[in-house]
Symmetry: C2
Subunit: 310 residues, 2 copies
Amino acid sequence: MKFKVTILGSSSALPTTNRFQTAHAINIHERLFLIDCGEGTQIQMMRNNINFARLNHIFITHLHGDHIFGLYGLLSTLSLYNRTRELNIYGFSMLEYILNDFLKYFGSEFKYEIIFHAVNVRQQKLIYEDKNISIETIPLKHRVPCCGYLFREKVPELNIRKEMIGRYKLTLAEITKIKKGYDLMCEDGSIISNEKLTYKPYTPRSYAFCSDTEYSKKVADIVKDVDLLYHEATFTQNFMKMAKQTGHSTTIQAAEIAKQAKVKKLIIGHFSSRYKDLNPLLHEARSVFPETYIAKENDVFEIALEKFKE
Amino acid sequence: MKFKVTILGSSSALPTTNRFQTAHAINIHERLFLIDCGEGTQIQMMRNNINFARLNHIFITHLHGDHIFGLYGLLSTLSLYNRTRELNIYGFSMLEYILNDFLKYFGSEFKYEIIFHAVNVRQQKLIYEDKNISIETIPLKHRVPCCGYLFREKVPELNIRKEMIGRYKLTLAEITKIKKGYDLMCEDGSIISNEKLTYKPYTPRSYAFCSDTEYSKKVADIVKDVDLLYHEATFTQNFMKMAKQTGHSTTIQAAEIAKQAKVKKLIIGHFSSRYKDLNPLLHEARSVFPETYIAKENDVFEIALEKFKE
């Protein structure tokens, strides 16, 4: 049961010779989600063996080109792959107009429908859920309407302790009830508590994507205790003023958010093209939050399954 | 005096892990021209150290996404580089609407103007000239309106043979006249013919870009005798039927055009993503036209200066 984040692009507005613009692919239990879609995302998906047919949901943080100009090519490629299944795209309302203009010129041969979901970027709100996961918006502070996305596994279904099946000669009907949380009533009238019969197979995992944003304490509240936080760090600390002016964060600010939120691991990215060597950014962030990692193209961050802890 | 073609993308509709979509950069006498602009063109320009500030003219062959989706990112990047000089874009008339829609959403901070030049794709016509070169359209046969572009150096200005300056004690005024083709009238009334005094410094060079197109004899007439011909060869010969259906050419067809036109060198490209190994395509084309080369990302084809031949 995977929970895996693949970095497709780590650059900010300007790409570099080896850094593409923003895009993350998230694989949770073999369901694929894409956050943002900078230019070259489809090539990066190919390079990372990401199955285009599995992609049904794309989440866009905001409408700056470096976060969406890869959509045109990706959507066209899905059509060339003969896609017929609908594709869900989530983002700020104006994206619908941009997509409609795109389809007007380039969508005449598309055999699949794009379902657009306008999200309210000012509220933390559930925008997607299925059996295993939920996705919420994270309001961010940028020059244009912008939100991040918070992916959480739901508390998994109870597992029966194998030895209990034989001991109490459990029927299928009983097993189904017990998995739902019921106690077992034995023939002699005694009651075996559900806790003795079951266990929670793993601790739900979580991933938060926060880009683009200036430093915002509210973000720390929303991403509290997540396993993996991606927070933009466009600049080193000496550019704090420029970060504020352009609606971005510094390394130290990203690390402060991670520290306040007590996350397990921080990934920083969305680096300004001025940085050839990213080590200074890493060192700055680690001075505040040691469990910081650099987002590099094709890096994979997997959150391991852990036994359930109360 | 350079005449240099850099391959930025060699793939057809679908990119691959190592092939970008169509774009060629042409450097003639340090003037930079771009033909087509598939997704990732700006990254490929960076990788090839192509100076964005030098780019003033972009030529678009047709309005399929794999030839233009890189425009969005490239135009935005020129804005981020604080461009103020106008940028000329040439292409089929509908491109103007696409560009205007793009600017409506993403151009609010642009400080430079885009001058759009609608080209008639059905006629061979001069669409650009300066002191040194001319550019003409090449009507092509594709599923949508489409033209190639023919770059020609003009016949260069005459050079004075150095030894003649001393022998006839030429004044600056005389040199200027002689360079324009005049004979020299000496004080004793004798006449020295211009031919004796001057030489043409080099043979004008030429490059033709033909993609996307099915096989068309008319193309061979237009590109007659060019030094370098880029002709698409999306398919191997066994896919001839599919080539015709989709408005593309095979290796053999591209090579036939080169042979009929008696060009010096042929580059084939716009390869279908089905081909991992491009050698079979090269071998097929060379069976008809030995001077064939494969377009590979970051390859440079330079046309050397040659002494003028009548």
